[in-house]
C-alpha cells in the first residue's frame, strides 16, 4: 500500500511542475540543434554539393518513410513498449497493394486495401500485447517474420510496377511547383498532429504515465489496454502509409521493400531523447534527430562512403548520445570512488581494444593489397 502511494506521488511530482518538465527536454533538443549545425558546417566545408537545393530536396524524401513510422514509435516507446514489426508491416501492405494492382484492381482501391491490411496488422499486434498480455518485444518479433513472410507470399519473386502518375505523385511529386516534396509536407503535418496529441492532450499525458508506472496508471483509471490497442493499430496504419509512399517513390513494389528499416526508426526515436525504458521523450527531439540522421547520411553519401560504413557513424552516435552524459556523471563522482583496481581494469580494457584494432588492420592489409 505504501509502495503504491509512493509510486503515485512520484508520478504526480513528475508531472506537476510543467515548466521544469519542458526544461529537461529542451536541454537534449538544443544539443541536437548544435549537432545539426556542426554537421552542416562540416559538410559545407567538405563538399560543394551539400547546399544544392535540388539535392537536399531529393534526399529529404528518402527519410520520410522512416519519419512516418517514427511518429507512432515515439508514442509506443514512451509507454515502455516497442514495435519491431513496422518495416515488415510496411512490406506486407505495399505488397498487397502491388498484388491487387497486378490483378488489375484500380490503384486507389488497392491503396485503400493496403492501408486496411496494415491497420489490421497493427490491430493484431495490439490485441496480442494488450489483451493476451504478451511482451511487445516477443509479439512484434513474431509478426516481424509473419508480416514479411506474407509480403513474400503475395508477390513471390515478382514485382509490381506501372503505377499511374497520379499515384507516384505521393512519393515523387513536389508541392505547388516548389522544390518541397509532397512526402515532406505530409510528414510535417503528421508530426505536428502527433506532437500536439503527445504534449497537449490527456491521451498524451496517459502515455507518459503508462511509461512511468503501468500498474499505477492502471489503478488510477488510465485505460491502459485500450490505449495500447490504439497505439499499435495507429502504428500499423502509419507503417502501411509509409509503405505506399515508398512504393510510390520507387514506382514499383518488391516484397523485400523496406527490409531493416525498423532499426532506423528506433534509432531515430531513441537518438531524439525518447527513453527506451519509457516515460520520457518529446516529439521535437525525435524530429530533430531524424533531421540529424538524414543530414549525416546525405553528407557521407556525397563523400562516397558506403551505406553500411555510414552505419558505424549512426551506431556510434546512438550509443554516445547516452554514454557521454553518464560518463560525465561518472567522472564527476570519480574523486569519491577512486581506487587502483578500477584504474587497472580501465588499463586492461584499453589494452584489449588497442590489440584488437592492431589485429584488425594487420590481418586486413595483405588481402586488401592483393585484391
Amino acid at each position: 500500500m505504501t509502495a503504491q502511494v509512493a509510486s503515485e506521488s512520484k508520478l504526480i511530482s513528475e508531472f506537476a511542475p510543467r515548466r521544469s518538465f519542458l526544461a529537461r527536454f529542451l536541454h537534449w533538443e538544443w544539443m541536437l540543434v548544435g549537432l545539426i549545425l556542426v554537421d552542416v558546417f562540416i559538410n559545407i566545408r567538405l563538399s560543394p554539393y551539400f547546399l544544392d537545393a535540388g539535392n537536399l530536396s531529393r534526399t529529404s524524401s528518402d527519410f520520410m518513410e522512416i519519419g512516418l513510422m517514427m511518429l507512432p514509435m515515439v508514442f509506443i516507446i514512451i509507454t515502455g513498449n516497442i514495435d519491431l514489426s513496422v518495416a515488415s508491416n510496411m512490406g506486407m501492405s505495399a505488397s498487397f497493394m502491388g498484388l491487387l494492382h497486378n490483378m488489375g484492381v484500380n490503384i486507389w482501391v488497392a491503396a485503400l486495401a493496403g492501408l486496411l491490411l496494415g491497420t489490421l496488422g497493427g490491430l493484431l499486434n495490439g490485441y496480442l500485447i494488450a489483451k493476451v498480455k504478451l511482451p511487445s518485444l516477443v509479439v512484434t518479433l513474431g509478426t516481424y517474420a509473419f508480416y514479411r513472410g506474407i509480403a513474400y507470399g503475395f508477390l513471390g519473386d515478382h514485382a509490381a510496377r506501372g503505377y499511374p502518375e497520379a499515384f507516384t505523385y505521393f512519393g515523387q511529386g513536389r508541392v505547388f511547383e516548389t522544390l518541397i516534396p509532397f512526402s515532406v509536407v505530409l510528414f510535417l503535418v503528421m508530426a505536428v498532429l502527433f506532437g500536439l496529441v503527445l504534449h497537449r492532450t490527456t491521451f498524451g499525458r496517459y502515455l507518459y504515465s503508462i511509461g512511468n508506472n503501468e500498474n499505477a496508471a492502471n489503478y488510477s483509471g488510465v485505460p491502459v489496454a485500450r490505449i495500447k490497442m490504439i497505439l499499435y493499430t495507429l502504428s500499423g496504419f502509419m507503417a502501411a502509409l509509409a509503405g505506399l509512399i515508398l512504393a510510390a517513390r520507387f514506382g514499383s513494389t518488391r516484397p523485400d521493400i523496406g527490409t531493416g528499416l525498423e532499426l532506423s526508426v528506433i534509432t531515430a526515436a531513441v537518438l531524439g531523447g525518447v527513453d527506451i525504458n519509457g516515460g520520457k521523450g518529446s516529439m521535437m527531439g525525435a524530429v530533430l534527430s531524424l533531421l540529424l540522421i538524414g543530414l549525416m547520411r546525405f553528407g557521407m553519401g556525397l563523400l562516397n562512403i558506403q551505406g553500411q560504413v555510414q552505419g558505424i557513424a549512426i551506431g556510434l552516435l546512438l550509443i554516445l548520445s547516452i554514454l557521454v552524459p553518464s560518463l560525465i556523471r561518472g567522472i564527476s563522482t570519480l574523486g569519491r570512488n577512486f581506487n587502483w583496481r578500477s584504474l587497472v581494469s580501465v588499463a586492461v580494457f584499453l589494452l584489449i581494444s588497442i590489440l584488437f584494432f592492431i589485429f584488425f588492420f594487420w590481418s586486413r592489409a595483405p588481402v586488401i593489397a592483393g585484391a
Partner: protein, 335 residues
C-alpha cells in the same frame, strides 16, 4: 515474481511449481511431437535418419548462439549484435585462414572465440560502465560491427577455393557418427548447462535477472555478472562464426544478416522469459529444434518457399501464445 527451479525446490508450494516448470518443457515437446506426426503423415521422408541429421546440422549453429543469447536474456538484457559479431568474426577469421593456410584448425577456433569475446567485451563495457540500456547498446553495435565488416573487407568476400581443406572439414568432419558442428553444439550445451545450474556464477545470473536489487543486497556484483554474460554471448557468437565459415565455405559481407532475431526467437519459444530470471538449457535446445523442424518440414510438405517465412512467423506466434495460455491456466489452478 519470477522464480526459478532451484529456488522453487526450497520454497513452500514447491510441488505445483515444479510440475509447472516441467510442464512448460513438456508443452513444447508435445507441440514438436504433434508437428512431427502431422508432417510424417504428409511426407514420410521426414522420419528418416538422414533428414534428422540434416535438421541437426541446420540448428547447431543457431543453438550455440541462442544459448549465449539465453544467458543475456536471463539477466533481463538482450544482445541484438550477435549477427554482426558473427559477420565480423567470420570475415576476420576467413582473412587470416586464407593468408595462413597451414594454420591449425584449433587455432582458428580459439582466434574466433577470442575475437568474439572482445566484441562482447565492448558490449559489456557500454552496458555496465556506460549505463546504456542493452537494447540500445547492442542495436548500436549491430550497425557498428556490420559497418566494420564492410570497412574491413572493402566489399570483397572469401570464396570456397580460398579456404584450406582441413578448415572446411572442421564443421563437416564426422565424429561419433555425427557431424562435428553438432558435437560442438552438444559440448556447448553441456558446458552452459553445468555453468548455469551448478556453479555459483551461473546461479548469480538468475539472481540478477529475477531481482536485481535483492541480488545486490545478497552481495552479488551485478555489474560483473552483466558484463560476463555479454562477453560469453560474444564468445559463443565468435565460435559460431568459425563454424559458419567452415560449413558454408565462404565469408560474405552479409553473413548472418538478420540472424539475431532467430536467436531471440529460439530462446523465447524455448520458454526463456524476456523479463529475465527464467530459462533452461533444454528449453532453448527444444526451441531451436522446433524452429529447425518447422523450416525443414515446410520444404518437405512442399509449401511454396515464398510462404515459408510467413508460416514460420505464424508458428512462432502460436508457440508463444499457447505457452502463455498454458501458464495462465496453471495459475488459475494454483488459485
Amino acid at each position: 515474481m519470477t522464480t526459478h527451479t532451484s529456488s522453487m525446490r526450497r520454497s513452500g508450494p514447491s510441488n505445483l511449481l515444479w510440475t509447472l516448470v516441467r510442464f512448460r518443457e513438456a508443452g513444447i515437446s508435445v507441440f514438436i511431437l504433434l508437428l512431427m506426426i502431422a508432417v510424417t503423415l504428409r511426407a514420410p521422408a521426414f522420419l528418416t535418419a538422414s533428414n534428422f541429421e540434416d535438421i541437426l546440422l541446420n540448428i547447431s549453429i543457431l543453438a550455440i548462439v541462442a544459448l549465449g543469447q539465453t544467458m543475456v536474456i536471463i539477466t533481463h538484457g538482450i544482445d541484438l549484435s550477435v549477427s554482426s559479431v558473427i559477420g565480423l568474426v567470420a570475415m576476420m577469421v576467413a582473412f587470416v585462414v586464407k593468408q595462413n593456410p597451414e594454420m591449425s584448425v584449433v587455432m582458428a577456433v580459439v582466434l574466433g572465440m577470442a575475437l568474439g569475446a572482445v566484441l562482447g567485451i565492448f558490449n559489456g563495457l557500454i552496458i555496465t560502465y556506460g549505463n546504456v540500456p542493452p537494447i540500445i547498446a547492442t542495436l548500436g553495435t549491430l550497425s557498428i560491427y556490420r559497418g566494420l565488416v564492410f570497412f574491413y573487407s572493402q566489399g570483397t568476400w572469401i570464396n570456397s577455393f580460398e579456404l584450406p581443406q582441413n578448415f572446411k572439414m572442421l564443421s563437416k568432419g564426422i565424429a561419433f557418427g555425427l557431424p562435428n558442428v553438432v558435437i560442438f553444439a552438444v559440448v556447448v550445451a553441456v558446458v552452459v548447462y553445468y555453468f548455469l545450474n551448478h556453479t555459483r556464477t551461473g546461479r548469480d545470473i538468475f539472481a540478477v535477472g529475477s531481482n536485481p536489487e535483492a541480488a545486490q543486497f545478497a552481495g552479488i556484483r551485478k555489474q560483473r555478472i552483466v558484463f560476463l554474460v555479454y562477453l560469453l554471448s560474444g564468445m559463443l557468437a565468435g565460435l559460431a562464426a568459425v563454424l559458419w565459415v567452415s560449413r558454408f565455405e565462404s565469408a560474405q559481407t552479409n553473413t548472418a544478416l538478420g540472424f539475431e532475431l532467430q536467436t531471440v526467437a529460439a530462446s523465447v519459444v524455448g520458454g526463456v522469459s524476456i523479463g529475465g530470471g527464467v530459462g533452461t538449457v533444454p528449453g532453448v535446445l527444444l526451441g531451436a529444434l522446433l524452429l529447425g523442424i518447422i523450416q525443414n518440414s515446410l520444404t518437405l510438405i512442399r509449401i511454396s518457399p515464398f510462404w515459408q517465412l510467413a508460416a514460420q512467423g505464424l508458428l512462432i506466434l502460436i508457440a508463444v501464445i499457447s505457452d502463455k495460455w498454458v501458464l495462465s491456466r496453471l495459475e488459475r489452478v494454483k488459485k
